[in-house]
Symmetry: C2
Subunit: 293 residues, 2 copies
């Protein structure tokens, strides 16, 4: 499946915004270079796109969603840099390019990750401090909760340091909810907060995000056995080599596909209250089921 046009438009705008922020980074040149290198490495920009298209569902009070959208991508990028480190996943390639530590050395990769995580909160802090303090502190709370010990970092610990090769798939699903699901949910919730969503909409969108977050992981497991390294731009077959429990190892490809389809159906059902305004979020859900990379 081609990347849907509506999503591609958001991606182009996100690339331009990230470029602007990267060009304005402060600090030593070597650090800025390492931060920008990883930030520019591409990808679908799924989290900013989710944030922006969720925000666009509402009329809002005219608050600017761009700092929040880019902050989400900073956090995602920092997590990839640290996950790729020799002490963790020890990956040499990311999106077909040398990983940050292969290109800049381990010390600078650790510090570039630290700086991007910190810069995410600085971007939120300085952008909303005067214009919308209540929105800004809500974003700080949502993002830090999702990215922290009970969310993304905790999931990474369970996925890398404390791996149980005999874990049942539902225990592995809980790891996915923390490692990747939490930040996807935060992207949607932050978009809803900037847009000024009511509680009911926020709850429906949170469920939408939880479903697509899991579906993304199911299709990830499927692609890990059905795709090629070239198509994916990263090492494949790693889960099997590490004897990790995956949806595919537990259920096989067909049942995993059916589960992904069910999750996407449930995600899309949550969007019905928004009618045509949710077209982009619907495209995104369908893309996740059909994606080839």
């Amino acid at each position: 499946m081609q990347y849907p046009e509506r999503l591609d438009r958001y991606r182009g705008q996100v690339e331009a915004a990230l470029e602007q922020y990267a060009a304005a980074f402060n600090g030593p040149a070597a650090l800025r270079e390492a931060m920008s290198y990883s930030l520019r490495a591409g990808g679908k920009r799924l989290r900013p796109t989710l944030l922006l298209s969720t925000c666009d569902l509402f009329n809002g009070d005219g608050h600017d969603p761009w700092p929040a959208a880019c902050a989400l991508e900073f956090v995602h990028t920092y997590s990839l840099i640290h996950d790729d480190l020799p002490a963790l996943d020890n990956d040499d390639l990311r999106r077909g390019m040398p990983t940050c530590h292969k290109r800049f050395g381990e010390a600078l990769a650790i510090l570039a990750g630290d700086a991007l995580l910190t810069e995410a909160f600085h971007l939120i802090g300085r952008s909303y401090r005067h214009a919308a303090p209540a929105v800004g502190i809500a974003l700080t709370a949502e993002l830090s909760e999702a990215a922290g010990a009970a969310g993304m970092v905790g999931g990474q610990v369970l996925d890398t340091v404390n791996v149980d090769p005999h874990a049942p798939i539902m225990a592995v699903e809980q790891v996915h909810r923390m490692k990747t699901g939490a930040l996807i949910i935060a992207s949607v919730r932050c978009g809803a907060i900037v847009g000024g969503a009511d509680e009911e909409s926020l709850a429906a969108l949170t469920r939408y995000a939880a479903h697509i977050g899991l579906a993304f992981q199911v299709t990830d497991d499927i692609l890990d056995v059905t795709s090629t390294a070239q198509e994916l731009g990263k090492t494949i077959g790693k889960d099997a080599a590490q004897h990790k429990t995956t949806y595919v190892s537990a259920w096989g490809v067909e049942k995993s596909r059916a589960y992904a389809a069910e999750l996407i159906d449930r995600a899309v059902a949550e969007l019905s209250v928004f009618g045509d305004r949710a077209a982009t979020l619907r495209d995104l859900a369908h893309f996740i089921r059909e994606r080839k990379n």
Copy 2:
């Protein structure tokens, strides 16, 4: 010089507050253990003490300074964990105990640092989101700016990755301003913000903090050649072994002592407008000049 009683009282209260927060950490047990281990490793708790005693100068609007104070210590602790890593300073001992990666392995040390940094913003986010959003987003902005690429992380890059052994001392001083000075200034500024300081007081306190931050580094360089590993609880003589420019290598011990004394005098002079209320901040300044560890 003994640690002054007024400061020791703050330290005791900070230890208790950190303990409470550590006991309530979420996430996988292994991660919580690594985070708590480093947080409990002691130290003078200089940054929370600065924040709390600065806040106490003002009547304020009754906002709670404790989440901000502990968030500062989370950030400081994360920076020590990452600085000690093999790829950076490669230190085995910190405050007389095995460093986080020696005790828990490198992967968990990296992730425990990431989680503590994130948890600092989560603590601020959840504590001030409803009670004082404008204070909370100001703290987010101040802390993230001080800890980021233009502050602490940037200073660490210049101190570890891009070291120039022939750097003149005034260039090294700029590195100190970033690596340790920025977070000390942020401690005082965050205390002033929670306390509701006026602009003039904030400016005077910022200058006070800049002076004691530099003085702290000067006395650090002096202790590195005049103290023992046992007294300091860390490796000594490292700067000389690495041929780094220090105040002592540039100026000798006596002139360095005189410079520290001058910085402390200037710091104390900034406190005159606060009269007796600034007794703790004055104690702190004098302690930094006289300290033996």
